[in-house]
Symmetry: D2
Subunit: 341 residues, 4 copies
């Protein structure tokens, strides 16, 4: 049986395991006040070209999204997201549980296009009853999107400009950030993310860490008392050095990006092979997630040999399924997978 259902099947990069074994019996102070976290912060600041950024380490994605969004919004505000956004669909109402509406706007292949955003904002404030509605308070983007697609630098720039003029901070969900930044076709670098977003996170769980997400506030004044805020959210790890250490390792010798590049390379191999075999894709993804359209018969035979995610029903006779590669995917497994088609 092959396994391509997600990009968080394995544990962590061997280098992380090695480091953990080395320092396991050290006595480190709690809650992120250890040297590993400090070192990781410095390396991330450098990588993002944001020497003054505030950086925090949290455990998982839903937790991070909820903590950041509820820190940036006022009570009467909601967060704008593409309707396909993870916060709108797959977080069990975590944002609403913090008291905020997800203002879901139409998506284009998983992206919230600048025009869609601008049109919404113009209409919103043109409606004289707008004070009776949740006020837009920030914009949530995913990079890459839940559909594996990528914003261009130009799109990010335009979104940024619109948001500036409406005083809306931008928060980028980077659960799979590396897989987007290492796509062959992208013109966006990590420092572009840092330049266009007011806050974002560099996902670790799906990119070589056991767990962990590094939140970057490029403007340090944006989230005062965020330490207390994440404690309140139950998102403060006692042994915070566990996450700091992992980022310290991942941001040494570009380990984070090497793993990401490998995953993308594996995904492109799969994409090319399937395209050649005549398969079609639901969206044109250049990242580690590939959304293949299968007919029902193929779907039935395939699921006997490989695990994958069922994404959505396309029509009566077709289904969209997702295959995900990761930093840990073996090329031989991809070859085997290709042979199933």
């Amino acid at each position: 049986m092959q396994h391509f259902e997600c990009d968080y099947l394995e544990g962590c990069h061997p280098q992380i395991l090695k480091k953990l074994a080395e320092i396991n019996m050290e006595k480190n102070p709690g809650y992120g006040s250890d040297p590993y976290c400090r070192r990781a912060v410095e390396k991330i600041r450098l990588a993002c070209k944001t020497p003054n950024a505030e950086i925090y380490f949290l455990t998982g994605g839903t937790q991070t999204n909820a903590a950041v969004i509820s820190a940036l919004l006022k009570t009467y505000q909601g967060v704008i997201s593409a309707e396909t956004g993870h916060v709108n669909v797959h977080e069990a109402g975590a944002i609403e549980a913090c008291g905020h509406k997800v203002i879901a706007l139409p998506h284009t292949d998983g992206k919230l296009l600048p025009d869609t955003l601008e049109q919404y904002l113009i209409s919103f404030y043109a409606d004289e009853t707008y004070p009776h509605m949740v006020q837009p308070g920030m914009v949530y983007l995913s990079y890459p999107t839940e559909n594996g697609t990528l914003y261009t630098k130009d799109e990010l720039c335009r979104l940024h400009t619109i948001c500036r003029s409406y005083h809306l901070p931008i928060f980028i969900d980077g659960a799979r950030l590396g897989y987007g930044l290492c796509a062959e076709t992208t013109d966006v670098a990590l420092h572009d993310i840092a330049a266009y977003a007011d806050a974002f996170y560099i996902g670790g769980t799906k990119l070589g860490a056991l767990f962990g997400e590094a939140v970057v506030f490029t403007d340090p004044s944006l989230a005062p008392c965020f330490f207390t805020h994440i404690k309140q959210h139950g998102a403060l790890l006692a042994k915070g050095w566990l996450i700091g250490m992992q980022y310290d390792v991942l941001f040494t010798d570009e380990l984070y990006f090497k793993g990401a590049r490998h995953a993308v390379h594996m995904a492109m191999k799969l994409k090319k092979a399937l395209t050649e075999k005549g398969y079609e894709f639901a969206w044109d993804s250049c990242t580690n997630q590939q959304f293949v359209i299968l007919d029902n018969e193929k779907y039935q035979t395939l699921k006997e040999k490989v695990t994958f995610s069922v994404w959505e029903k396309k029509d009566e006779t077709h289904i969209v399924v997702r295959f995900a590669t990761s930093w840990a995917t073996k090329e031989s497994d991809v070859d085997t997978l290709i042979s199933f088609f």
Copy 2:
């Protein structure tokens, strides 16, 4: 200047004012424990044919929706609503502020059709990732809808059957309940509402009361400690007898329905006249709200003579506006309004 922008421009029915003057200096106990509330409860139970219903009096609609919905949902549940539902659009995120997602489904002329609901529920539970999503916990309907349209008895029955099989209570927002029940074309009576809904409210603010909404729980076990719950929501009026007294008056000699019938009669006169003059309507409303399509030029001249609500832009040259009649609308004012077209 004529005023047709909403159905809550005036104060209250003169009978209510008279009663208030009579009892103003009485000493009544607080929080609904007075004889007026008790009498109103009995009259409403009788009118609904629900002798065991629990009935509470709240002040306004948003407050009532938030209090009832948060009482019926568990933390991990959301409320299903047509995307046009008042709770989804015009309540400033009051439901989300209580921690719950509004699960917005496509509407048909403002209605959540039984097929739409059933299809959503089938799809929801067919998705193997459903435990990662907000669980549907109840259904919110408006009668009449925000578009002035009405569910038929058959539709309510089918919605009820679907909801029963998924263990979802139905809550009907009756901010304008009377205007729906008194529509000439409806086959739904008050006791049908009580039979198909697990909870609903009989709106007073828009139907002859100074303010007040009467919440009916047909199953008294549905909302335990609702008194404490509404206190927590800041929705417990100190002088609760003020609302009880108003419902006592409104449910004497059918005053509530007489006022509603008058408003609908006025709206039908307007509708007929405008139809004859060649105007079109955005939806076919048989209730007190009429949604007229105006060209931009007509819109400009009309707004000099009459106040109304701008509903939405239809296209580049047309706009949908709303005229609302009420229990207090004078026939001569409707005649004047008609003469403006």
Copy 3:
């Protein structure tokens, strides 16, 4: 049977009723955008000597406390209150339902003394684990307190100074504000309240209005989008003019203060008479609430003839009960009450 259980037994001042009758059939725009609210705002600004204050009209006390407190706090902050504060005891957890802890400090006869506050703040920040705790975000005071006692001008000034140095806004719950300001012994005037508080409310429900509380933000920038915030809290009255009109009347010819003065006068008559008869009081209240210590036998006989509130058990043989006078209390009723002792 005499009734002294609370100060909100009757409806409203006859002048308000008269005005309501006059304007009942006027067509007024909703949500506070009417001329009565505007006029009331101007009169209150003048009375408070705060020409730039933002003023909003809400319906009841719990609602007002929850709306203001949740508007002033950030997610990670709590509100400091005397442990006897209404928000800590009798609001069914309304503050916590908004996500905030009530940080309850020891009281002295219902008051939060400056020293108590300062000592708490010093200790809080001296504890190195303070970032793991709810951060103090504002101070809630009641004037008069729940025990009928009053802060002196000097105490308010000291509290103000302490709060300034810790950047904590002060919010004064003025549900019975008039009864405090009209106490014979007070040295605090309405404009002092406005000078020492960042936000406060002038209670109407207990002082001659049918219902209504006027919130004053002396610093208009303190609560941005408060309109949307109160809508979200279900605290926005559709016919907002109903409250504006009442304050317009109450702040004409000092009606508000005349009613308050009468109530205090009645309470002092009762206090003097009971003192002469040898009764003792739980606290020395100079306002409209008198907390009398009864032995159990007296309690049993008295409750056959008059309604009052049971406040607390003092010891095995004594009980503290509360008698409240109001703007509407008749002197002859006070005389009758005195005759029962």
Copy 4:
């Protein structure tokens, strides 16, 4: 420098590290649906003698407390806790952020005594205004308490009986459960905890795991859809097998209890030595936390050589400090520490 400031300074038990290295590159399904979690569940059920218990694995203590408490309470309810309870003091308002008041009752050496609880409940329901207050909805206990003290079996039994009669579930915070169960003086076994509590957790973070808390619902119907609930709380670890694996190891060959016993043994050695040297303790703790009273001078010299927690100021010249041992404490370090006194 010696380190005794807390019991979570090191990483994990070497056996766990070994197991992690073994399975790191396995492909395990996410969110707790893996064989390690299943095995851990079975072992915990066996150890607790609760074959039907529902067991979930969360990451940290604050998160676990908030998730369980908000799952067990209804909107209008609060959780009763000793005022010293972790949920009341050191969780940054996490319970209130979920909408619930912590009803703080007086403690006795950190314990909520049965009489204190019963007296509160009797008084609460004797107050006729109780429906205006937060309703008690459950009881939170810590075992051991934050002061290192322990409930006796008899006390737990009495608390259980009181709670049954008031329909209040009991939730035991077992962040340091092992350290309590392995105290020499306790008469409480793990299955007693399971018998007297409706829910509790077996802390891992402080007892040999990298992180992780195992929540046990002895009555599986108590928390429906808890999976979705923890997802909503951001408390669902993607690689859930990481926690399951750790509990699998810890509950093999009694590793969990062996580590706990060692820590207690070390603490008793310290306690005995300091007692002999004439030091006094703030409370009589038989667990791994020792609260020593130091004079200011000793405090100053000691903190140059060893890290510890400052607990509270005792008086002008004395201070209470905490030394914590753990599963990882070396006896030679304890000896060194003793030599400092």
